[in-house]
């Protein structure tokens, strides 16, 4: 499912890559950027965590015309007089203006690196509302965000991820360059698909999916234990031979009725004791009004 997401996010989609300090999700984010650039899409990147050079490092220089990086790394809170992009500018109007500045016919994809920075300086409800409006508004086609889960409270991470249509949680894998990705995708109809894959990222940010991770390790342990057969190794015979089986089935037990009697007992036919009653005037008896003469 990771490869499907790399090939394209549907319009109005919101993808969140959740990482932690044990494995950084920035490489995966850059592979999403690379894949989108290869598809001739326009990308706007809000760059909070790392510098612009570090983000562009490794991306092909020919694609940079469609890639617009807004440097929020050097001055995110506007301490110098003339900041490029600040955390306070993360609102619907400012972002819409920002994206519209580079006038392209197609709506762009907005990549946010990272959401954690914004969540530290704006309240989570405000951030959630802005993200929801960005998705619905139509100014951007899709939003991809990177979220560091160990920087926030569980409720904050949960609230932001609740809005996402696709969620990728990355964790370090067993062997060197591999990593495990748990992908959850919610479709429009409400169907939820989940998958767990092992992947590794090459130098040019192409992702190779190695295999599906196997959960079944603890399950196979339990099925390996053989059932002990209690009927083996006994001094007496508990099994039946074929002729003995036949004889057993031919034996008629006492108190076994014939089929006709059984059906007669199980399905009582009509007329074998039904009570037909038509209610008459005497049944119209009101206990609170026995003589039927109260006029209330």
């Amino acid at each position: 499912m990771l490869s499907e997401l790399l090939q394209g996010i549907e319009s109005g989609g919101f993808l969140i890559i959740r990482d932690s300090c044990s494995y950084s999700g920035r490489d995966l984010l850059k592979s999403f950027i690379t894949a989108a650039l290869n598809r001739e899409e326009v990308i706007h990147v809000l760059c909070f965590d790392v510098s612009e050079e570090e983000l562009k490092d490794g991306l092909k220089p020919s694609d940079t015309q469609r890639l617009h990086i807004h440097n929020a790394y050097s001055d995110p809170l506007g301490w110098t007089g003339h900041p490029n992009f600040t955390a306070q500018q993360f609102s619907l109007e400012d972002l819409t203006n920002l994206v519209k500045q580079t006038s392209h016919p197609k709506p762009a994809v907005l990549v946010i690196d990272s959401l954690s920075w914004i969540l530290r300086h704006k309240t989570p409800p405000a951030v959630c509302q802005t993200l929801q409006q960005l998705r619905k508004g139509g100014a951007v086609r899709a939003v991809i965000g990177l979220l560091h889960t160990d920087m926030h409270q569980r409720g904050t991470v949960g609230s932001v991820c609740h809005l996402a249509t696709s969620l990728i949680s990355v964790a370090p894998g067993v062997k060197g360059k591999e990593a495990v990705a748990r992908v959850t995708k919610r479709s429009k109809s409400g169907k939820v698909m989940q998958d767990e894959e092992i992947f590794c990222i090459a130098e040019d940010f192409t992702v190779t999916i190695l295999s599906k991770a196997s959960h079944a390790e603890h399950k196979t342990n339990s099925t390996e234990e053989e059932q002990a057969d209690p009927t083996a190794n006994l001094t007496f015979n508990l099994r039946l031979s074929d002729s003995e089986l036949e004889a057993k089935q031919k034996l008629t037990l006492p108190f076994v009725f014939s089929k006709e009697k059984k059906t007669a007992l199980l399905h009582p036919g009509p007329g074998s004791g039904r009570i037909l009653y038509e209610p008459d005037a005497n049944d119209d008896y009101d206990q609170e009004d026995p003589d039927d003469d109260l006029d209330v």
Binding site: T123, P125, R186, S222, L253, K259, L265
Partner: protein, 405 residues
């Protein structure tokens, strides 16, 4: 010889729907008769159906008019949304009025996804204890040779059903046709239309809930649900559906922080909502993403402020998905609270272990029962304990083998 008067009256009222008797008890009816409602057999409250017949059974016959049903959402909000849609679809079919309030998706999106009712009412799930047709006695008799008298009885009474059917059945694979939907009057409240987010961010209080309450009060008063207008006008019920209250999109940080700043905003709203509902002919269903709320005391407060409360837990994505015990079901359902309205005791359901399953034509809630034969390798799971815990204690399955006795 004749049965006592009260029980005859009650059973005839229940059986009137099937029209097998022409008996009419002579009473002056003090209850208002509104289509789609019926009086409760336990305490005489006016009940409406939630749209899911098994849920009606759990709540004591239906949802009492003037109460709130709280649904704690499952992780991906699939089944709680489904129950909300059933509730609204039942309102359309019974010709009640609807009020839908959302912050995430437009209310029209929810209204367009309502399931189609099965109008010819043939799809009554056949109870298992119906006798087999006489055309095929052979197969049924061969099933048991010794205990043949018990052949036609069901193996386990797992489906929850009451004797008289109240609600309707819906086909989830089809959406309700536009004519039926537009015949019902629907009031919408979409939060971004009412509150501009920039003003909300700077305010000290959570404005969204008071705006919602004001809008609801205005609708109730304008449409005459609050019994202020005289009795001549025919009465109707207002069904209020509030989707995902308390989430971050309502401007509330209840789900975001461990110690929310506005912890009383939602509880005040629920208090006001209940007061509004008690004085009008309306019923509300509120869904809440409780899995995001970290403060359990607050969750307890919220549960107390709503009359009925159920919680859904879906197996999708959790380690319980692969447990063989749960393979027939889609999730667990917990009844957190059932109200006692005008009486001393609550009518709690007998069975605490309930599981639900969403089939195409029905949302069934069944009792979860342990199968009688458990081999050594299957582990008994008690309610609330994840399967993974048992195997983490020891090394793999040998740990469970030693603990299982």
């Amino acid at each position: 010889m004749a049965a006592p008067m009260n029980s005859v009256g009650k059973t005839s009222a229940d059986r009137l729907q099937a029209n097998c008797t022409s008996f009419q008890k002579k009473t002056r009816s003090k209850l208002i008769s509104i289509p789609g409602t019926r009086p409760s057999v336990q305490n005489g409250q006016l009940l409406v159906s939630t749209g899911v017949t098994s849920l009606d059974y759990l709540l004591g016959g239906g949802l009492a008019v003037g109460t709130v049903l709280l649904i704690e959402e499952d992780r991906f909000d699939s089944y709680s949304r489904m129950i909300l849609k059933y509730f609204l679809a039942e309102g359309v079919v019974c010709q009640h009025e609807l009020f839908v309030a959302t912050a995430q998706d437009n209310p029209d999106e929810i209204l367009q996804e309502l399931p189609a009712p099965i109008l010819d009412d043939v799809a009554v799930p056949k109870p298992v204890e119906q006798p087999r047709p006489t055309g095929e006695p052979q197969d049924s008799l061969d099933a048991m040779t010794i205990a043949w008298r018990y052949q036609n009885l069901p193996k386990v009474q797992s489906a929850l059903a009451s004797s008289s059917r109240f609600g309707h059945y819906y086909d989830v694979s089809k959406t309700m046709e536009a004519e039926i939907r537009q015949a019902a009057k629907c009031h919408r409240f979409y939060l971004p239309d009412h509150i501009t987010p920039s003003s909300a961010a700077h305010s000290a209080r959570v404005e969204s809930y008071s705006a919602l309450l004001k809008s609801l009060q205005e609708v109730i008063h304008r449409e005459g649900f609050d019994l202020a207008t005289p009795m001549s006008k025919s009465r109707n019920i207002l069904r209020v559906g509030l989707h995902s209250l308390g989430s971050a999109l309502w401007g509330d940080d209840l789900c975001c922080h461990d110690k929310p700043r506005h912890s009383h905003a939602l509880t005040t709203f629920l208090y006001g909502l209940r007061a509004l509902l008690r004085s009008s002919l309306s019923v509300a269903v509120v869904t809440l993403p409780s899995h995001l709320i970290q403060d359990r005391a607050l969750m307890g407060n919220i549960t107390r402020l709503c009359d009925n409360a159920i919680a859904l837990e879906s197996f999708k994505g959790s380690e319980r998905e692969t447990n063989p015990l749960y393979k027939d079901y889609h999730g667990l359902l917990f009844v957190r609270q059932v109200p006692h309205l005008n009486c001393l005791a609550r009518q709690l359901p007998d069975h605490k272990d309930l599981a639900f399953k969403l089939k195409r034509k029905q949302f069934t809630i069944e009792r979860l029962h342990l199968p009688p034969d458990l081999s050594d390798t299957a582990s008994r799971v008690s309610r609330g304990e994840p399967v993974g815990v048992a195997s983490a204690c020891g090394s793999g399955a040998s740990g469970t083998k030693n603990l299982d006795f």
